[in-house]
Symmetry: C2
Subunit: 128 residues, 2 copies
């Protein structure tokens, strides 16, 4: 058989998360959180070359996390938070797993079901 075509258009969340997965890119965002900045001033403190920085910015831009605007010969980069909000929304659905009070509630609700969760397949003998 042909060696598997596993190519997708990545969704928003995946783009956001993989953009954020790089520490240099998070450092760029941290810097931009204190106000817009041109590319060069982002590169220097991170010990990154200009081309590397530019690429990181492209990744961040494609994830919607920054926008760039020409301003004379510079290009001002600005933090765009919408994807972060989206991420926070996604994360929210897991909040009960680390929030103690919610965790207790959840445990209670699970216990209410009495059954070991029929939808989950975590019985003694899980369905094949």
């Amino acid at each position: 058989m042909s060696p598997a075509q596993h190519r997708h258009v990545p969704d928003h969340l995946s783009a956001t998360l993989s953009a954020l997965a790089d520490p240099n890119r998070r450092a760029i965002l941290a810097r931009l959180a204190q106000g817009p900045a041109p590319v060069g001033s982002l590169a220097a403190p991170l010990g990154l070359s200009l081309p590397a920085t530019s690429k990181h910015l492209t990744v961040l831009e494609r994830a919607g996390l920054v926008s760039r605007h020409r301003r004379a010969q510079w290009r001002d980069c600005r933090l765009e938070a919408a994807p972060l909000r989206e991420l926070a929304g996604w994360l929210q659905t897991y909040r009960r797993f680390w929030d103690d009070s919610m965790e207790r509630l959840h445990a209670y609700l699970e216990q209410l079901q009495s059954q070991p969760d029929p939808a989950a397949g975590d019985q003694k003998h899980p369905g094949r």
Copy 2:
């Protein structure tokens, strides 16, 4: 010169984010959010092979997002939320950028400084 050694031990947050960046892995977490499950029952509904699933689980495990426990010949996977909490904490520092009321406060605080943010270098002529 040798072609640049950019090898790091990735930090927690990077490991968490890159683990979460894959939609299949997020689907696994979503499934585990409804209770622990053996590997096979995770693979099937995602159309993933067992080896692929096992690898995803290894990635999630190394990020601390799941744990696996032998249970007869099965291996029960359980969601571990600590890294998600850590992520939520990190995200929290950006909350003011999407939360309207906070945003207004932030704008006000920035305006208090009167100066266009000396630490930021976003003046007319940014430092080299």
